[in-house]
Point group: C2
Chain length 476, copies 2
């Protein structure tokens, strides 16, 4: 639902973009890669930190994605994965679905990373032998003999995260290839969340949530949601990817919003690493960092190509994948409520879109803002109303109300009949508020808004949560 371009599958050899890296680029990427490999080798030899290894691998992920997008762009176009940027003066075809490259590089990196957090624990527990049934006692595991190293039991969680992310990659690529209908694609993330839920069920099975203090007298300190907990997790996994996928339509916006959310989640994770050890939630947040850092690596490389003026499109694959990374770390780390705070602009955009998504107001195929060729600026796109087809009374009332609240641009003629209303997306609304903007300015402002809302969300979560929960974090 990127909406800003039409994907065409055609066997025409379009004017190929340059597929080679400049010598400056080659040297920079090579230096970065070598430095990262050096750090990695060092980490593996010594008693080193998995966190440092993760950072080094994220650097490699950046370099790999940067080079591969350049090299493979024309190949994607030849196979029909291309689109036209509709918000530019000149019509130009760009490679589409570059998110698939990000996903593959990311997956390779998180798979190669496995031995870093898990290796030493095994060696210590089994003296290098292979019998992993000789497990540490419960007390030892919980005390955590190795700072920042996981007990072996976490391996299954980590693997289930990889499976979910691979699933969303496969389904996202399918979506980009086949242009699945909106009604159907909404449930793609639900399928991809199955591995996560199944392994959670088998491996973990905690379905209790901490109750706010005012409710504790009635429902107890911990309330067991039972099967509902799985429904809740599935909802998080459906909401997060879809909400990112519908906040789209201008160059760079899919990537920058994902980067902001990832940075804020990583910042939140770091807060837990700085507490005096052993905070019960440290492991969950390390886990989260290990999955977020490589995501930031591939995303920055993608942003390089997708920022205005875009030289590549990200595809639904990227949006789904980004959302699923967030859902996975939040579910496995038990901080899904925090994630929801960081996705407030997306949630607003979703709720705001409901009138069009559910057909109360006609929904054109693309709702991206309108590009004004004369000024070169973006303007709100509109739904037009003809006098013969006016909204139903209740809808008309809602439209007028939204218009009065400044939440919609409404044009009526002399008879009070609707002429046009702006489309129901946060991007159009921003343009209604701020007036015409150039595409990069628009993307930048919305990204900044996302960052401010997210920071405020984190502040609320850590300062105000104490008022209704007994402790800041309950941990596992």
């Amino acid at each position: 639902m990127t909406g800003h371009h039409t994907t065409q599958h055609a066997q025409s050899h379009s004017p190929a973009a340059s597929t080679t890296l400049s010598s400056t680029e080659s040297i920079s990427l090579l230096s970065l890669s070598l430095a990262c490999i050096g750090i990695l080798a060092n980490t593996f030899q010594g008693d080193g930190e998995p966190l440092i290894a993760s950072l080094a691998l994220s650097g490699l992920a950046f370099a790999g994605t940067y080079a591969l997008i350049r090299w493979l762009g024309p190949t994607f176009m030849r196979s029909g994965l291309k689109g036209v940027d509709m918000s530019k003066q000149t019509r130009r075809e760009l490679p589409e679905c570059m998110g698939a490259i990000c996903a593959v590089v990311y997956l390779l990196v998180v798979i190669v990373f496995i031995p870093f957090p898990f290796y030493k624990d095994i060696v210590a527990a089994t003296s290098g032998g292979g019998n992993r049934d000789v497990v540490l006692r419960v007390e030892e595991v919980q005390r955590g003999r190795f700072l920042h190293r996981f007990p072996h039991g976490k391996l299954a969680s980590y693997l289930s995260a990889i499976i979910s992310l691979q699933s969303i990659a496969i389904l996202g690529i399918g979506d980009d290839l086949f242009d699945i209908r909106w009604r159907h694609k909404f449930f793609i993330p639900a399928f991809a969340s199955i591995p996560l839920l199944v392994v959670y069920f088998v491996d973990f099975g905690v379905t209790s949530i901490v109750m706010p203090i005012p409710l504790q007298p009635y429902l107890g300190e911990l309330f067991d949601l039972g099967p509902l907990y799985y429904a809740y997790m599935a909802c998080v996994a459906i909401f997060s990817p879809n909400s990112i996928n519908i906040l789209a339509g201008i160059n760079g916006i899919e990537v920058t919003q994902s980067i902001v959310v990832a940075l804020l989640l990583a910042f939140n994770d770091c807060l837990y690493l700085l507490t005096p050890y052993p905070h019960p939630a440290t492991d969950s947040h390390l886990f989260s960092l290990f999955l977020l850092l490589p995501f930031l690596g591939v995303s920055f490389a993608l942003l390089w190509y997708n920022w205005y003026p875009a030289r590549a499109f990200v595809g639904d694959t990227y949006c789904y994948f980004a959302g699923m990374v967030f859902a996975t770390v939040a579910i496995l780390g038990h901080f899904s409520k925090t994630l929801m705070l960081l996705l407030l602009p997306q949630a607003f955009n979703f709720v705001y879109s409901v009138p069009q998504l559910f057909g109360l107001v006609p929904c054109p195929r693309h709702r991206l803002p309108r590009f004004n060729k004369r000024t070169g600026l973006m303007e709100p796109s509109v739904t037009e109303w003809v006098p013969e087809r006016q909204p139903k009374p209740a809808v008309a009332w809602m439209l007028r109300m939204l218009g009065r609240l400044g939440l919609l641009m409404v044009k009526v003629d002399g008879d009070g009949k609707f002429v046009e209303t702006s489309n129901f997306t946060i991007i159009n609304l921003w343009l209604v508020w701020r007036g015409p903007l150039r595409e990069d300015r628009l993307a930048g402002e919305i990204t900044a808004m996302q960052a401010v809302v997210g920071l405020f969300g984190l502040f609320v979560r850590h300062r105000l949560a104490l008022l209704i929960f007994k402790e800041d974090n309950w941990g596992l």
Copy 2:
């Protein structure tokens, strides 16, 4: 390297095949699905067998694949995933890459299956609570308190198998989309085997092999291969998918050879289930069955469409995926030598192909047998030699030798110069031996040969292995 069709990526709306199931088909599939769901629900409620659940899920996998190939075929064609069957009287475009559907259905099924073998163990060990760090003692685990249920530690192996299979699916789809060069695609399975090797390293780490008795005085009973063991596993994972991918080119052959290998592996697994409990290798072979049964389910559905005259092509995705299923069960079950016995025809085909693969003999783009439009039969395809470009002396000597041994069709002119030689594939060789055959007859005979060789291989493995190994099977 299916070779029997050219894939075209074009945006033409080709004459759509029927996308609806006939009422007979609908009723049959629905009945099968309902029966399977019933069995499944029953298994989950009671103390039931994971093996029965796996069978039921395989039935569902068959029904799902059967319906989805019908429904999605035209969608694939619209996205450019189509090919022309070159061995038919009339030129007709067929959907390509149906193996991707098999892979997705298969993956969904093996993920949904997870709770069946692992659930009860957890409940018993932790009384339904969620703390999976309370693990069984080593002795209990090894004695196996629940017949046919896995200790929790096996979960990581199972998940790593899923990750490897998902990786090969993603890379295989990429190959089908982008037509990757032969030199590069050869290493696709190597990438997909990384998760398997990494988790093996972290989770298991046994790198010793049992020595044959004659060598035991020198090297000991167990010999530790160390890092070489990982190289060995990677070789198995590279060989198995590629060897299936190059034994291709006629309708149905990719699927039937895979089904034969899967059936023989499953038969071998069953031998271990029938031994008096507790045979040390029972768990490994159950594990193998759990991965093979759904594979048989999706493969039979695919065969329905791919058998002569084909209504769909399987794509490289299927060949890679099939080979990776075999490599995965063999590596995790420690019976890779048995797998090699079952892949003898593929190994022969690979070795036989070497002169062309490595350029000693010119290699045309397609080496599939030639379709004789007049007779409707398949004949060996040939490499032609012009008098000016004759093979080098060593190669000429080899060609003549192979011709004399009946391993090649060689035509020379009066001067002893080469005119043509048959292409180096087992399918062409079979036609050299048996004369022109209709395509289905040819596929049937090669499949039968595969089955006979495989059964003989299993006989050798179980009867003759005792002469050089102390016990029939060493287990884990």
